[in-house]
């Protein structure tokens, strides 16, 4: 129980006056802001790796009959006499999906921003359990190392898709992969533990450590989203851990949980995986929705349209998220009777998403829109997420899913929600909170170039995939040239690959901006966006302990352009109420 001991305020302040070693300050820090930055570097690194795997995959898909440029430096088990091997392609798909979901996007949404923003936005001095927080980062490190190492062990990395469907994932004799799969399952267990510890921390912090006056309905939408996300993680991750451990036993000690030869049930794996997996995709979108709400409000200089509806939408998406998992299993051999109930619940979940989409548009309506880079990405998020969400409606309809299941139509959906959704919002969040994190502004010109390149290339990569999917191209195939019905799409595949290269390159433009601004960017003031939430009411970057004195909250989270406030168009949450007629807590 040693880890559950809280670090008191007193101690935090004491620490400030001790000269700290580099190790104490940056490596084993318990300051939530430092941990968030550690997570940020970590996840950006894995974003780069995951993207690189995608580029290799795309090359193969576009030109299956050509040698892989530079493939010569890879070992024979991956690329033989210049040609990529099918087993290596399968590893690439698997690890691309897994790394992006578990090591890039999820820890970036939660590890970085839940960590950074929750204490700052609710007016706390740190997380409830700072040492647990440090542990949740350090658990990710071996997970990442195992993942990277798995490429270089005998048999290569895991290769049964990020969904790890048994029996393929459990039978080295059938997949050819033994150690790689084990490494990845171990990594998954570590990631699970890390995110459970994180969730405990975030939930406790939000419940118990809000500053005076920070009532539930004065919390910024980001905090709401991250809070509900943490609950999803808390309840969904352990199920994946349990299932992953059973799979690990099937793989290593000869049990047969998911192997029919021993009476086991392959479909049980799918139920457990998707019981986790669907909540997981909402873990990947809810925080993004939170950031977007905040950035759009600040960028439009207007309060969020329908704040309460937004909160209830988050809650109902999360709740419904637990009852729709079967929509991944319509063609799996699951009892068809379950199909109808899963269709209905899946379609139902589009309603709160619609509420959110229209409320974002409502926030922009009659606003005074400041299109800084963060705002561009946030608006881009709304535009792209809508496309991804709408393509989800096709699959939710069971009969249509018969045809499009496991085709590139699904791949298009995945990327519109995960890249056009989560990653767009994350880019927005990075530009928006960078000044707070590092005390410097990112370069706006480069940022805008990055936005437009990303938007254009992104759509060139992923929009045509809908068409490729309609033509019937299956997912996870290494070479489509053997299929008569896929002859007409090869040019499109090549176009997609060219665009993907452009997309990846724009990522490096961003990387340059990021690192350059960290050192050379314009110095940031405390509140460069004239925003209202608490984190902007303390210096950039905030000191250890966050506040000179604990803030007291008097207003709702997004009071922009209040008619009673003169000479500025925003009203910070902690500004004394005598500035305006008291705004109700509920607004």
């Amino acid at each position: 129980m040693a880890t559950i001991v809280a670090e008191g305020t007193g101690q935090a302040i004491l620490e400030e006056h001790h000269p700290q070693t580099f190790l104490r300050k940056y490596m084993f820090s318990t300051d939530h802001k430092i941990i968030a930055i550690q997570f940020l570097i970590y996840t950006l690194f894995f974003l780069m790796i995951g993207g690189f795997l995608a580029i290799m995959m795309r090359y193969q898909i576009a030109w299956p009959d050509q040698t892989l440029p530079g493939g010569g430096i890879l070992p024979e088990s991956m690329v033989a006499s210049g040609y990529m091997l099918p087993e290596f392609y399968n590893s690439l798909v698997t690890m691309h999906g897994s790394i992006m979901v578990f090591l890039a996007i999820m820890p970036m949404l939660v590890g970085v921003y839940a960590n950074y923003l929750i204490p700052l936005q609710i007016g706390a001095d740190d997380m409830a359990f700072p040492r647990l927080n440090m542990m949740s980062f350090w658990l990710m490190v071996p997970a990442g190392l195992l993942t990277l190492a798995s490429f270089f062990v005998v048999g290569g990395a895991a290769s049964s898709g990020w969904t790890l469907y048994a029996p393929l994932s459990a039978r080295p004799d059938l997949s050819g992969v033994e150690l790689g799969q084990i490494y990845w399952l171990l990594a998954l267990v570590l990631i699970g533990l890390s995110s459970i510890l994180g969730s405990v921390n975030y939930i406790t912090t939000v419940i118990n450590m809000r500053a005076p006056g920070m009532t539930w309905f004065r919390m910024p939408l980001t905090v709401w989203a991250l809070f509900i996300t943490a609950i999803l993680g808390l309840l969904a991750m352990p199920v994946l851990s349990a299932a992953g451990i059973m799979l690990l036993f099937d793989q290593t000690i000869g049990t047969t949980f998911f192997l029919p030869e021993g009476g086991g049930q392959p479909l049980l794996w799918q139920h457990l995986f998707w019981f986790f997996g669907h909540p997981e995709v909402y873990i990947l979108i809810l925080p993004a929705m939170g950031f977007t709400s905040e950035i759009i409000a600040a960028g439009s200089r207007k309060p969020v349209f329908g704040y309460h509806a937004m909160v209830w939408a988050i809650i109902s998406i999360a709740f419904l998220g637990f009852v729709v998992w079967g929509h991944h299993m319509f063609q799996s051999g699951m009892n068809p009777m379950l199909g109808l109930s899963f269709t209905i619940s899946t379609l139902l979940i589009a309603v709160p998403s619609a509420i959110k989409t229209f409320n974002w548009m409502g926030t922009m309506w009659r606003g005074n829109l400041h299109f800084h880079t963060a705002m561009l990405f946030a608006v881009g998020f709304v535009a792209m997420f809508a496309i991804g969400g709408l393509s989800g409606i096709f699959m939710a309809s069971t009969p249509v899913d018969i045809y499009i299941h496991d085709t590139y139509f699904i791949v298009a959906h995945i990327h519109y929600v995960l890249f056009g959704g989560s990653l767009f919002a994350l880019f927005g969040a990075i530009y928006y909170w960078f000044p707070k994190m590092f005390g410097r502004m990112m370069n706006e010109k480069l940022g805008k170039v990055h936005f437009w390149l990303t938007l254009i290339f992104f759509n060139l990569v992923f929009f045509p995939m809908h068409g490729v999917g309609m033509a019937g191209m299956m997912r996870r195939i290494y070479d489509s040239s053997g299929y008569a019905h896929l002859q007409g799409i090869q040019d499109t595949n090549a176009l997609i690959t060219f665009a993907a290269l452009g997309l990846y390159a724009s990522g490096f433009l961003f990387a340059f901006n990021f690192f350059w601004s960290m050192k050379k960017g314009k110095k940031a003031e405390a509140n460069p966006w004239n925003a209202t939430t608490l984190e902007w009411q303390t210096p950039s970057p905030p000191m250890h302990g966050n506040w000179a004195e604990t803030p007291v909250v008097y207003h709702g989270p997004h009071e922009f352009s209040h008619p009673d406030v003169e000479d500025k168009d925003w009203l910070a949450q902690n500004e004394r109420p005598d500035v305006v007629s008291p705004a109700g807590g509920g607004h």
Binding site: V5, N201, T204, N208, M214, L235, L268
Partner: protein
């Protein structure tokens, strides 16, 4: 734990749960534990439904009397745990020492009996005509060892924490102003007991 109470009080906060932070944190952590065991138990139910012929009758392979005694041991450790907590609240230093130590010892005893049970099963039992009941002995063996094994692992962690709490007890650490650590540890320990109550019933008796 010395500054735990002070730390919470020192933080000006909006009315939360009216419960100190460590306790809230532990309950939330237990929620995730519930889901973890639900994953295992849910799989057990499904697998058993799908292949009920692969399961033995109660007492056929598993030694119910020994495990019943073991269950009793765990229940006793729960009562000593709660007694330790009560003693801390009252400041009865002698009882604190006795009860924390007893809890740790009973936990260790439970593990010992489980180790004995495992050894007997693996080395000296018969199941479906083959010698030894192991994790490889079909779904019955696999689910049995996975579920009881993970429970045992939780008991083991509990014993480690309890030993640490006992050492602190002997240093006079716990008392009326400082019982939160014991309470939080107690929550974990009782939860492990609670899981065992369920496991004992569905794995051994049904």
């Amino acid at each position: 734990m010395a500054h735990a109470a002070a730390a919470t009080a020192g933080r000006a906060h909006e009315r939360g749960l009216d419960v100190y932070t460590q306790k809230v944190g532990m309950w939330i952590f237990l929620c995730s534990e519930v889901m973890f065991f639900a994953g295992l138990i849910g799989s057990y139910i499904v697998l058993r439904f799908g292949a009920s012929d692969a399961w033995g009758e109660p007492g056929e392979v598993l030694n119910v009397p020994v495990t019943a005694v073991n269950t009793f041991i765990l229940i006793c450790s729960s009562v000593t745990m709660v007694k330790a907590f009560a003693a801390a609240q009252e400041g009865d230093q002698k009882s604190i020492k006795i009860y924390t130590l007893a809890t740790a010892a009973l936990g260790a005893l439970f593990l010992g009996v489980q180790g004995y049970e495992y050894t007997e099963l693996i080395l000296h039992s018969e199941w479906q005509g083959s010698h030894g009941f192991t994790p490889q002995a079909g779904l019955y063996g696999a689910t049995f060892f996975t579920m009881t094994g993970f429970h045992g692992f939780h008991v083991f962690l509990g014993v480690v924490f309890l030993s640490w709490a006992s050492i602190r007890a002997f240093r006079g650490h716990w008392g009326p102003n400082n019982y939160q650590g014991l309470e939080v540890l107690g929550l974990y320990w009782h939860f492990v007991d609670l899981v065992w109550i369920i496991l004992f019933t569905i794995v051994y008796l049904i």
